[in-house]
């Protein structure tokens, strides 16, 4: 019996899975009908009881976030869905929305009803044209069906849904930067408090949730909190999407209960690239400290991954085999953070610049061993000291790679440059035996 539990992905193999008809064939929008017959507070309570936690990286309980919105305050409330999927390695929301945009729209309706929002926004990154099309069409079709707009299903609930399309800025994945961007400014993070629940979009109470979190809501409403809590672990409830990429025979999306291990996922999918072995991997995107083959049996839930020194993050499992130079991988991520630093705070703006300079020298065999201490020192000034989590993300791959692969950094110095052949690491170099 497979450990996989397709729920969100259950009907992705039907060619019209992204259409309204395809979605309704399997009960799509029934959860909305059920929710609109419930008291709004009861919807919040049900999501709280399910234990659903944010699937965008931070893992904050979704129902609690909704519960923070002050009610009876006579202010406009907003729901904003973060579909700005840009964390390197992360590739779950994009295929989800391509295959089934309606599940997000339905989740948006339910969540907006619960928090008493009359206008919701989906902020999608600007670099995925076809996904944008599918969402535009899904929203149009939902309006036509009477699921959006005035007096939805005659229940007296009004909701407008606007798709907002980004324009290439990783920092907008940070929820307060995303709000600034949505208000029409440069996307720079805001000081917290006040938190978005009190002063978010247009300084009004706002919930910001990840795509997968909101898309998980319809099934929870339909099947109940107990069903959801029966999956997963003690504190990490339910199922989630794991994305396997890199040096594996068969990359792809896997929906499984929280707590599955990389070893199990590799066994199911056909393993590491044939003839090679696992060297290092990220549990949840490039901002999460790397793991090695010593972590193959770490349960991939929020608590176990933290206890092992990393973070579950976006569950983006990027697999690198022994042909990969860890310094090359880390330098490229660091160049990314330098490029994407919004420039607002000094530790991140200056720190990421220096990190790139030092790593480039090391890659070319030009540094000294003292540079490793300097790298760690700069990382120490970034981690927890920058304005937002981008700085933490920039420090993570460097600190963790020096911890596990210090010798490989030194080898660049003794070798006078990189000892690896980049061709060996490419996909074209492998004989895709397991494919």
């Amino acid at each position: 019996m497979s450990k996989l539990t397709p729920v969100l992905s259950a009907h992705w193999d039907e060619p019209d899975s992204f259409t309204l008809a395809g979605y309704q064939r399997h009960g799509g929008y029934n959860a909305m009908k059920k929710a609109l017959d419930m008291d709004a507070d009861a919807v919040i309570a049900l999501v709280k009881d399910s234990g659903l936690r944010g699937r965008g990286g931070a893992g904050f309980p979704t129902g609690n976030k909704w519960g923070f919105i002050p009610q009876g305050d006579n202010k406009d409330h907003y729901l904003v869905v973060n579909a700005d999927e840009s964390e390197p390695g992360t590739c779950k929301d994009t295929p989800l929305l391509m295959a089934n945009p309606h599940v997000l729209v339905e989740g948006v309706i339910i969540a907006s009803y619960a928090i008493r929002a009359k206008h919701a926004f989906i902020y999608i990154r600007g670099e995925v044209t076809h996904v944008t099309r599918r969402l535009l069409q899904a929203i149009e079709d939902a309006y036509k069906a009477g699921f959006l707009g005035k007096n939805i299903l005659g229940k007296g609930f009004d909701l407008e849904l606007t798709l907002h399309i980004g324009a290439g800025a990783y920092i907008c994945g940070e929820e307060t930067a995303l709000l600034d961007s949505l208000e029409g400014f440069r996307g720079q993070p805001r000081l917290r408090p006040p938190f978005p629940a009190i002063a978010g979009l247009y300084a009004r109470p706002t919930v910001v949730n990840n795509v997968e979190s909101i898309a998980s809501v319809p099934a929870i409403i339909e099947k109940g909190a107990e069903w959801f809590t029966s999956l997963g672990t003690e504190k990490s409830k339910g199922f989630t999407l794991y994305s396997l990429s890199g040096h594996v025979n068969n990359p792809g999306q896997f929906e499984a209960p929280l707590g599955i291990t990389l070893r199990e996922l590799l066994e199911l999918s056909g393993g590491v690239r044939s003839g090679h072995r696992l060297k290092f991997w990220t549990p949840g995107g490039s901002s999460t400290p790397i793991f090695t083959d010593a972590h193959l049996d770490t349960p991939l839930d929020y608590e176990s991954v933290s206890a092992a020194g990393s973070m579950l993050g976006t569950k983006a499992l990027q697999i690198f085999d022994e042909t990969t130079c860890v310094l090359r991988a880390v330098l490229r991520w660091t160049e990314f953070y330098k490029h994407e630093s919004c420039g607002k705070c000094t530790p991140c703006r200056e720190g990421t610049w220096w990190l790139v300079q030092i790593l480039r020298d090391l890659e070319n065999g030009k540094g000294t061993e003292a540079d490793l201490a300097k790298l760690l020192d700069i990382c120490d000034n970034l981690l927890g000291r920058s304005f937002c989590a981008l700085g933490d993300g920039a420090a993570s791959p460097i600190m963790s790679s020096i911890k596990y692969f210090r010798g490989e950094y030194i080898a660049h110095l003794t070798n006078g440059g990189c000892p690896f052949d980049p061709v060996a690491a490419t996909l074209f170099a492998s004989s895709k035996a397991g494919a």
Binding site: S2, L4, P6, S9, A10, E14, S86, E87, P88, G89, T90, C91, D93, T94, M98, A99, H119, R125, G126, E127, V128, T129, H130, T132, R133, R134, L136, Q137, T162, L163, H164, I165, G166, A167, A169, E183, G184, F185, R186, Y202, Y242, S245, G246, N250, P251, G252, Q253, F254, E255, A256, L268, Q318, F320, A329, R332, F336, H339, P422, A425, F428
Partner: protein, 214 residues
Amino acid sequence: MASAPKTFDENFLSRLDAIIARYPRSRSAIMPMLHLVQAREGYVTAEGIEVIAQKLDLTTAEVNAVASFYTQYRRTPAGEYHVGVCTNTLCAIMGGDAIFSGLKDHLGIENNERTADGKVSLEHIECNAACDYAPVVMVNWEFFDNQTVESAKTLVDDLRAGKKPAPTRGPNSVPTFKEASEVLAGFNDGRANEGIQAGDPTLLGLKIAKGERK
């Protein structure tokens, strides 16, 4: 308020108004308006900045400050087909670096340049949320999955020859940069039903769970 620069017709101006109408506060319209300027001009022109500033009652400096923050807003014309090669770590290692340098040689242009015929511009891009399809190439932000140096060269040759190839996961033929920008401004081009719902990697877990794959 001064009248809009004369280069813009009524239809364009009314579309700007339609964008403003989507939001509770007008300033939020600035990003889709910039995408719409690119849909018309191929990049963000000074006139485009000016018309947005007028519509939103902002200074051109304020609009410029926003435009310059986001990498998709271009200061120079894009090619009819804007080709992005993912060179973030995972794609780079899986072959993206080789593809990018191969395309630079093949086209005789550098990063962020355009071929003399105006057909293709080239850029290295960051992770495009398709790592399970690495190495990835985007054309006008449509997915061309699992590329090799050779397949990418053929792709740009086809684009220059006006062949409009179909993306791996996208519409039946690749749109032009201007057509794609219109979608990014939030205008439905009616092509959502074209193309597949999911590629093989997207379906892998589901197929294993259903016993359709070992």
